[in-house]
Structures are given as C-alpha cells and as structure tokens.
Point group: C2
Chain length 342, copies 2
Amino acid sequence: MKKGHQVTMKEIAKKLGVSVSTISRALKDSPELHVETKRRIVEMAKEMNYQPNLLAQSLRISRTNTLGVIVPEITSHFFASCISGIQDHAIKRGYNVMICQSNESIEQEKANLKTLVASQVDALLISLSRETNHYEHLEEIYSREIPFVLFDRVHEEMPVSKITFNDAGGAYQVTKHLIETGCKKIMYISGPEDLYISKKRKEGYLKALKEFGLPENQELIKITDLTTEGNLQVAQEILDMKNRPDGVFCMIDPVAVDVLTLWKSLGVKIPTDIALAGFTNNPTSAVVEPPLTTVSQPGYEMGKLAVTHLLDQLEGLASDDPISIVLETTLVPRKSTKSVAK
Amino acid sequence: MKKGHQVTMKEIAKKLGVSVSTISRALKDSPELHVETKRRIVEMAKEMNYQPNLLAQSLRISRTNTLGVIVPEITSHFFASCISGIQDHAIKRGYNVMICQSNESIEQEKANLKTLVASQVDALLISLSRETNHYEHLEEIYSREIPFVLFDRVHEEMPVSKITFNDAGGAYQVTKHLIETGCKKIMYISGPEDLYISKKRKEGYLKALKEFGLPENQELIKITDLTTEGNLQVAQEILDMKNRPDGVFCMIDPVAVDVLTLWKSLGVKIPTDIALAGFTNNPTSAVVEPPLTTVSQPGYEMGKLAVTHLLDQLEGLASDDPISIVLETTLVPRKSTKSVAK
DNA sequence: CTGTTAGCGCCTTCAT
DNA sequence: ATGAAGGCGCTAACAG
C-alpha cells in the first residue's frame, strides 16, 4: 500500500510558468507581488488542491509548531481531561499535539521523550510516571534547552514551570470536613510514599489534625500500592483493627471506591460506621452508592493553563523564568460522609 | 524562549574529518564500512549526544513512520482505551501516533484531517463524529491514496477496511436477556437515528423481539439527543406513559445511568418495576446502584486490531483489499436486570 | 571502503 | 515585481 502523490509548489510553478519562489511568496500573501499573479497562483493552488508539506516547512524554519505531551495513562479520566484542555488550546494557537503515554513506566517515559524530541517538537508538557524517581532524562532535555513544563506529577527540584493542584490544601479541606462532621479518629490511606501527591496530601491531612487537636498516629496511616488487590487488602486490614477509625480519607478516588465496595459487601454502613472520602472527583465517584465525598480537580483547566503558559513562554509573551501555578481544588461533599451539623 | 542546538551529522563529520555520507552509513550500520571508522563514528556520535532529526529523515525518505488518529472524544473511556491499544501497538512496530479529537464536530474532524495530512502521516485511523453525515473529506484522502481505516464509528459505503463491533449481535444479546428474565414489554432508547450504532443496535433489538414473538411497537422506541437533559426527559416520559415498559435497553451506558439516577430519585425500583440495561460497559456502570447490566466492548482490543491491520497493509503483510473486522461483544449481566429463571 | 553529487519541499537572501 | 541560488538535515545513487 503506498501513498498517492501530493502537489508541490514546483508543479504549480511549472504549470504557471513562474518560479517556485513566486509561488511561495504568493501563498503567504507577500505584499511585494503583482496582485494579478498572486490571484492566478492562489487560484491554481486551490484548483490543484495544493497542501503545503509541513515537514519541509518545519525543516526549513526549524520549528514544527507541534507540542509533545507525555502522560502516565490516557485512559485515566483525569489525564484525558488534561489532554483535552491542552489539545483544544494548542490548536487555537496554531499548534499540533503529539501525545504519548508512559504507562506509569519510567523506561517508556524515556522512550517517549526520545521519540518526541527526535520528532522536533517545539516544546513538551510532561506529567511524570509513578516509577519516575530519577530525572536524567529531564535534565538532558533541560540542558539542551528544549522548553518544557511539568504538570500534576512534577519533580519539585526541576527549574522549569510547574502546574499543580494545591494538594495539601485539598487534603486539608477534606480532612477538616471529616472532623467537622464528627469524626474523631481519621485514617489516611496513602499511595507509595515517594509520590509527590502522597506527600502533599499527607501534609494537608496532618495539618488539619493538628489544627483541630486530633492526635497524629502512625497507625492511622496506611499505604497501598494502588492496585485493586492492594486497596482491598488495606480495606480489610482496617476492619480487622481492634480500634477502627470513624473516618477514612483515601489519596485517590479509585482507592475509596474499592474500599467502599468491599465494606458494603460486608455490611459496613457508610458513613454511619465509617465515613469515607476520596480525592480527584472521578465520574465514577458521583454514582457509587453512597456517592463519594471527594475533592474536585479540574483537569481540563490544568491542561489549558499548562499549554497557555508554555506557549506564552515560547512566543515571548511571558518571561522565561520558571513559575509555579497552583490550582485550587474544591471540596465536593456527598453522602459517604455525614452532613455538617448546623 | 528558544531551543538549544542539536548536533547534526555534518558536525560529527567535520570533527572526524570524514564525509557526511560516511556518518550516515555508520549510523545505520552499513556493512560496507571499515569496522574501525564505524566504531569511531558511533562512539563520537554518542559522545556528542547525536540525535537524528526525524524531520529531515522523513522528508528525504518520504515516510514519517507516524500514524494519525481521529476520535470523537478523548475523555470517553472507550475511545481512550482504543487510543491506548493503537498507541501501544504502533510503538511496538516503530510508529508514532498523532492523536486528535473532533469533539463530535464534523468541522473539527475536517480540520484535524487536514492537519494530520499536512503533517505527512503515513496513514490514519478514524472514528467519525456524531455530526458526520457527509464524507467528502474522507473521499478526498481516499482519492489521494492516503491509507486509512475506520473504526467503531464507520461509514459503511467507504471502500476501506473497517473495524466494528457486532452491534446488532450485542443488542440482540441484551434484549434476549431482558426477555429471558421475564420482560414482556421492552423499550429501546436510541440515539440520533442516523448514527450507525443507533441503527445497528435497533436491528438487534428488533430481531430479538421478533424471534421471541414480542410485538414491535413504534411507541416502544424513544430517541434521545444523548445529552443529560435529553436523557432525563426521555426517562420522565417513560414514567408518564400510561402503559409503562417493564424493561428498557439504552443504546449506551451514559443514557442508562441518567435514567437510573432519575428513577431512583423518584422511587422507581430497578429491576422489579422496570429492568434497565445499557451498552459499552463503562467503568461507571459497574459501580452504580444497582450495577448496570450492559454489553462489554473491548476498546483496547479494537485499537490493537485496527492498527495491526493498518500496518500490515501499509507494509505489504496484508492485502490492500479492504476487509471488515467484526469484534464480538459480551453480555455483562448485573443487578439492574433480573436473574435468569432456573 | 569512502567521497561526491543530487535532491526531498520549502523559504529567503540577493540579484535584477 | 520576479528569478536564481543556497541551504535546512538527511539519504542514496554513482564514482571511484
């Protein structure tokens, strides 16, 4: 199977008996051209269905007007929303987008990066994989002065712009909500401890405990590997505790959904026996029974901000100095936690 | 903000005092080269951190090893799964992927197509927008002999390979399931009638009715525009009927979820008052209360098959003759329908 | 074994 | 107002 032929400037030139440069000028509406020749050329180009070869153009001007995006998982609703925000706003400003997923693997992330760089993308938007704990590949593109921003899953020490959520703030909100609805003994189910969000959300959790005079307790923090099996195991461990918590805050919604599923099947009443809250506001969380109290993170907005800032920098509309944009989250109280006492 | 410099073959050549072609040959491990020079070049390339410029390479060999993908919505879990399948298997075979979403708009679809073609993708995988009811843009790339396949949302008359689900079969399965669990009066909630899947699923629905001797009835088919408002309105209309159905099959899960939400809030018992089933097996459907009976469509698998077939054709491993691949669906019985009587 | 030459499609001085 | 020439980075005959 082979591709058909594409009309080139050369062919238009031959057909019209003018030079290629004239075609080039006409097609970009150069003012120094005779209106009549310009008209003839534009018309002929249309008739022959000329489409510029972006490849050649990019090679010539050494700019592709293409952005590279690397996310851990396309199938995650949150990242899909980010991509959507990135894509919509990139297109508005005349940029294409090449998307890759790392599948939460640092090796795949490196491979993606290499491919995108080889494809000469003008800049990159990256959200790191869970596995990513060293950063040579980022330092490499940094030292090569390829512009990039990090979003959501960032490496704090990298001197580039970062777009994140106020994770600590969100965790604080939700923990405070648990406290205000009567919980006295609140557990935090964390993901792997070296994850940025694990740390940040723990920070907010602890801050709320402290502020309201509840004791911190290492037994009240459990770690899951974020697989369903891991989540279910933690859920079971909690039930096995002789001194169960009366409120549980899960680092991300999927964990909360797994916990909820197991508990319901074992007759645990939510929120009366134990209140449950998540983080992210996945579509799923709104429809489980009871609906899950969570914290909303606008992914589309994050993508939009990230790409807008990146393009502003790229085009000199914003300073090159790295900045940190922090998006606020919103508590979404639902039935998996009790109502605030009036 | 500007990009840093990239090492080129020319620079390596100068540094080593050989010609550019020698570099080119060494880097692609040509056998007709002195081992020692080859070694020196490869080493130097590594030391200078040479990365080939895919743009130049593509322009030269007039092949980009890049595939274009157009889907209606990235944020839909089903399409995200397709993309994931496409991407994973494209990469395995040395191809990159450029993804665009049409946002269910034919104009955006056309724009995406134009961009991808201008970017010289080697081939395309396309799933049509809901709005797409004329096909000049597809005919255009067809006549230009740019290879492409259609998946899921296809245009049947287009003489290219198509990968679809057995939609009629799935609809038949689920309707049959409703019948076998005791429903006598089954309604089909369809999307816009010109949609391929609206038609196909209606086909299967009608076939099952006929086979089991249940009467067809125009009143038992309702149309929604697939917005939440539209879905809720239809859900209300059903309750307002003087002669309510005892089973409802919704064309896609989100419709069923909206219907379920409204009915539950009004005290309608599912499945005892009315049984409810969807189609697609979205993650959401498993966690609503009661969990939704639906039909599973493996999106990842579809993406994988689509890209594999396309690349096989592209690389001459498969005939260029268009084929139609039909994936079977699986009934996923859950609690929103009654159990089969033993 | 290696260098020279030509050209992929386009843009951009520099001439005229 | 237009054309000729050169080059973006790379590959592929063709010549030794």
